[in-house]
Assembly symmetry: C2
Homo-oligomer: 404 residues x 2
Amino acid sequence: MSSGKILVAQGGGPTAVINQSLVGVVLEARRFRHVTRVYGALHGVRGIVNEDFVDLTQETSHNLELVAATPSSALGSTRDKPDEQYCERIFEVLRAHEIEHFFYIGGNDSSDTVRIVSQRARAAGYPLRCIHIPKTIDNDLVGNDHTPGFPSAARFVAQAFAGANLDNASLPGVYVGVVMGRHAGFLTAASALGKKFADDGPHLIYLPERVFELERFLADVKAMYEKHGRCVIAVSEGIHDASGEPIASLLAKEVERDAHGNVQLSGTGALADLLCDEIKDKLGIKRVRGDTFGYLQRSFIGCVSDVDQREAREVGEKAVQFAMWGDRDGSVAIKRTGFYSADYELLPLEAVAGKTRTMEDEFIAASGTDVTDAFRMYLRPLLGSGMPDAFRLRPAPVAKILNR
Amino acid sequence: MSSGKILVAQGGGPTAVINQSLVGVVLEARRFRHVTRVYGALHGVRGIVNEDFVDLTQETSHNLELVAATPSSALGSTRDKPDEQYCERIFEVLRAHEIEHFFYIGGNDSSDTVRIVSQRARAAGYPLRCIHIPKTIDNDLVGNDHTPGFPSAARFVAQAFAGANLDNASLPGVYVGVVMGRHAGFLTAASALGKKFADDGPHLIYLPERVFELERFLADVKAMYEKHGRCVIAVSEGIHDASGEPIASLLAKEVERDAHGNVQLSGTGALADLLCDEIKDKLGIKRVRGDTFGYLQRSFIGCVSDVDQREAREVGEKAVQFAMWGDRDGSVAIKRTGFYSADYELLPLEAVAGKTRTMEDEFIAASGTDVTDAFRMYLRPLLGSGMPDAFRLRPAPVAKILNR
């Protein structure tokens, strides 16, 4: 006799559309007659081991739709990275509650958790269907054309740079915008989509896929500043030297590491300030400003791609369909099938778990400080409809009288 | 014989709607039969002394409308603060080009420039009509209910905090968001409009209208963190100690001052980082993150209040009408006439020029770390239509089995 119980949880950094996936799971699961309960775990895997569950079967469809359109993780999230022992506790709780389907929405760390729990259940002979649902603004999951959450964050970054470029054109100087992305430069590269006219910024883009050399950087900035009388620069927080040491951590007083051993890169303006100081000191440019986009780029309410919303909903729905109609665990992935359309497939957990995708070489210009048209074609449809546009006055100069 | 020549320029920091005012001037001026030319000066007063003019009479209405909807200053701006000699040069250029009407869109420094040029023209017996058109995200012009540009920036700040609060609820810790505003806390206070539920952030708001004491701040944060298990804090970049020394400049390695003698507060993450370090060190809280909203809050493309757009357009239109139908120089001001409606009046330049409005006491809660309902009523209609909203799952707890 089947219990008909399902559990869903959200892990890792929140996104603008992660609740779409949650609601996709809940509403789709409630359509299956044998499903008796849809539980949500509060704060990801931590909520599972603590048995902090809420019954989503008792939530209205109407409120679920409103929550779906709300950014960040409605169930709460966690940065815990379960080891084998932690996964054992997860499994014991799932078994105690007779959970038959486990859906975990998250990035590559989360997919690794799903992989271990899936293995553990199989070893114990307990019938548990485990599905990982992709989510990350970093766009760094392998096997996916792109990941839900990335398009909306990319839209924020593109809009931010479109505006920063206009601001910088109005009051010329050097502007450095630091964007999230530890290993993958996709989000930083999205800054290029804020560019419309040939002389618009960002004029330089620094990605973690290329080694960052300070001398080269200063020479690039100098050249652009001389050409345009100003310079807008997009920098990934993950830029590093040839040895792989993050530029951000080279200057941090006290390096903070999370449970995954990662250095804290976000939530500090240190990298932008360092780069601005170098430009002021070495190039003698007076007006140099740095912004660190920080949490705004993943949390800002009111900047979302409708394509991203739709797909985030669908990966949740498809996860349930794969679980109900298929016979294996896996990770839902987005495949591009047209310009633009997408379909979904279920990849083996081993193909995704713990792996990191970085920007393909074909997306990075030979200069190393720009993107290619292939990247623009890749990203543009994902940003969705209604992208704001910038317009200029056309020149009609007036003859000088006093300064002739 | 009248030349029928008009000059318009934009000064100070760009806003999301300053081009609405520009286009309001241009389109309204072109309706008057005796107007032969509408010139725009590039980069504010600097463009005037350099005679860098463009002829806006040769721009299509259609493109002007597109430019109106584009943020930042389409003519370019400047931080130059003209002294008497600089104003003399402005006046000489205006006279050489037979300019009869001078419209300058800007903040209180710009209004002071208009005041000096107006005096100079009168002293020389040259018939020049000088009108200042209000603009500033700081909302610090006296005699105005509010200033164009502020509502859109306030909307950005409110949306940013609504999102940051959701993010912080998902991954609890302390979040510090630093908002622009050297002397006036209006924009920082707008963070309160991102709050929906009683336990939402921002839990603490620090304004330049109140003396900032680090010990008191740490005690406030500790209390909120103990109450909510997290704490979202809005801080004005202009917070200062009892002697008036900005907290930001107390730690800056090298203090940068602009032509107005103002310390650089924006374009650096130093203040947020300092406050985060204090919270980590003194309170022992591990997850502490700081964001500095920087230029995003005034330049972000795609976050604008429709009320702000409309009013920014109207102050431009009214400036021309006051100039054409009235007989005195002045500064256009917004008056509130209903909940919500506005009208416009022309104040004497002396009433506005060089003065700074700060937040009225009735808008600041007795605690000094929150706003009042009077402020919420004041600001809410200005944010415009279509404000995004945040929704939550309603609790339906599940009984524990293993951890009973």
